[in-house]
Symmetry: C2
Subunit: 336 residues, 2 copies
């Protein structure tokens, strides 16, 4: 090794004239060491700039302090909020966050998990509750605490902390219809592998069917940039269903594209066209008019996932499902 200075437990022990064990104790359970001894040890630690190896500690003690998380992408605001929550909670407990992106692909999720397992993380945090069968089996064996963020499922591997996309869209669609907007359309990108879009669409369809209304659905290719997809999808929606009176977008960024579409066509929002989004980005509250959307407590989801993992380490057992819910932020673009 020799890469780093700082020395080892043994060095410090020698300097302070005690045994390695006493140094180890002084560092981890200071109250179990006599004040005088502790002083001497701490001085030696400071002088040498000693940083104990958590690799060695992990090997010997069975706890690495590493928690691995996998998100579909780190470039989407909704997930970065969760990462933020994870980071804060883990750092506070002297743990470190290892992170990877699956790009919404189940096979790369599996590959990443297998790789991370080699570092013997104290916990594993995944996004969504759908995995490859092999991964599901592997994780069910219970080697490591697994928390699934974002979506809910009846029988999670460990913990599921999230909300129901379907419920959110059911409520939002109902409220639009109740407000007299009986011809709302639905616009999304066809993100392959992301089960949340079908959930939202399902909620929309359910309510439309219940109300005896025909669905108006436009799916843009998943490869298209969001704002562009929103604008293009909006155009297609009006081409296919010219009498549409509201556009429900599967994300705020899509809705922003729709907003530009309205501008180009001279449609007033919300008088001629109501607009709704999903995700409550910062920009949503700043649009003209401000965007009615669904707010998700992303940071809280991350924090709760970290908390649950820490609870497991502290000896708590058993699976949990936590619905953190959603909020419908009613603003100018759709006064429902």
């Amino acid at each position: 090794m020799a890469r780093r200075d700082g020395g080892t437990l043994a060095d410090i022990a020698r300097r302070a004239g005690v045994s390695k064990m006493t140094v180890s104790r002084a560092l981890r359970m200071p109250e179990k060491v006599a004040a005088g001894t502790r002083e001497k040890i701490m001085r030696a630690v400071r002088e040498r700039g000693f940083v104990p190896s958590r690799l060695a500690a992990g090997l010997a003690g069975g706890r690495t302090g590493l928690v691995a998380a996998i998100v579909p992408t780190t470039t989407t605001t909704m997930f970065t909020a969760a990462i933020r929550g994870l980071d804060h909670a883990l750092t506070a407990e002297q743990q470190a966050l290892v992170i990877g992106q699956s790009e919404y692909r189940k096979d790369s999720e599996e590959r990443l998990v297998r790789a991370y397992l080699a570092w013997r993380p104290d916990g594993l945090i995944l996004t969504g509750g759908v995995h490859t069968p092999a991964l599901e089996t592997l994780l069910r064996r219970g080697g490591v605490p697994v928390a699934e963020m974002w979506t809910l499922r009846p029988d999670p591997i460990g913990a599921a902390i999230g909300f129901s996309d379907r419920a959110a869209f059911v409520e939002l669609t109902r409220r639009l219809i109740a407000a007299g907007l009986r011809r709302p359309g639905f616009i999304a990108r066809d993100t392959i592998g992301d089960p949340r879009v079908p959930e939202r669409l399902g909620g929309y369809r359910e309510v439309m069917a219940d109300a005896g209304l025909g669905p108006r659905v436009v799916l843009q290719p998943g490869s298209q940039p969001a704002i562009q997809a929103g604008a293009a999808g909006f155009d297609r929606l009006l081409a296919e269903f010219p009498d549409t009176d509201a556009a429900m977008f599967a994300s705020d960024t899509l809705a922003l594209g729709g907003r530009f579409g309205c501008m180009r066509r001279g449609l007033r929002v919300p008088e001629d066209m109501a607009l709704t989004g999903f995700g409550d980005l910062e920009l949503s509250a700043e649009m003209e008019p401000r965007l009615t959307t669904i707010t998700i407590p992303g940071e809280r989801i991350g924090k709760l996932a970290a908390d649950w993992v820490q609870g497991q380490l502290a000896g708590k057992r058993g699976a949990t499902v936590v619905d953190v819910g959603y909020t419908i932020a009613v603003r100018g673009s759709a006064p429902v």
Copy 2:
């Protein structure tokens, strides 16, 4: 430990009827093991679902496969692009990314680095070239390869991979003036601890002074949400300097706020007011008109940082400075 199954090298060795060393070789340097032996070993590995511990490997071999990165925040698109580049490059080399957020605070950067050092990372990736004196000293001791992303500095600790904010704003301001916009204003948030905003402002000031023009600068509080700050800053700019003919924003999100400000005032873009941003977010190319802005190759920065660390591990020595440059994306909002 016993937390995980999969067994140990010794288990596999026993099953395959060879020594631990041979298993270790079969896994890491398959060509150095006889084909038949290898077969037997691989079968045992598969049967038991063996995943070698990288903790033990790191302790014994001196290489952990962990690379730690610290960014100011994971919620800013510019940094998530870099994270993406890091992640891809590291995953390809079987390394894992440990990540933390400094919230633009130098002391928490130092705290995080000290914590990460305990895991003996193969490399350390920081954002920016300004650190606490203690951290600078610690890192200069050379214990671990350090790459600094985003900004450039003459004598980096290890590598500096970034671009010059100042140069970008010098060029952009020059081009505005050359295009006949002689009364451009500058709007930013006063982000404490982020040295890049002063850099941009410095570039602007320099060119204005050279041209014999008075600076028109508005700084909004750093705590304000970006779009809101952009709109409010734009209002203040026009209040203080009513004859302003162009607004240069320190970020695209601020510029979006400015765009809304123009809408409210009935100002045409770019005829009555030219607008420029910084960062080239996805939405920038989708505004009406599309936003003229400065494009930074964030993902490339991350990739190059990872590449450099990997080069150091492979035995290369020495510091480097890589200027990845910037591009001025000239679009409708300011045809310069």
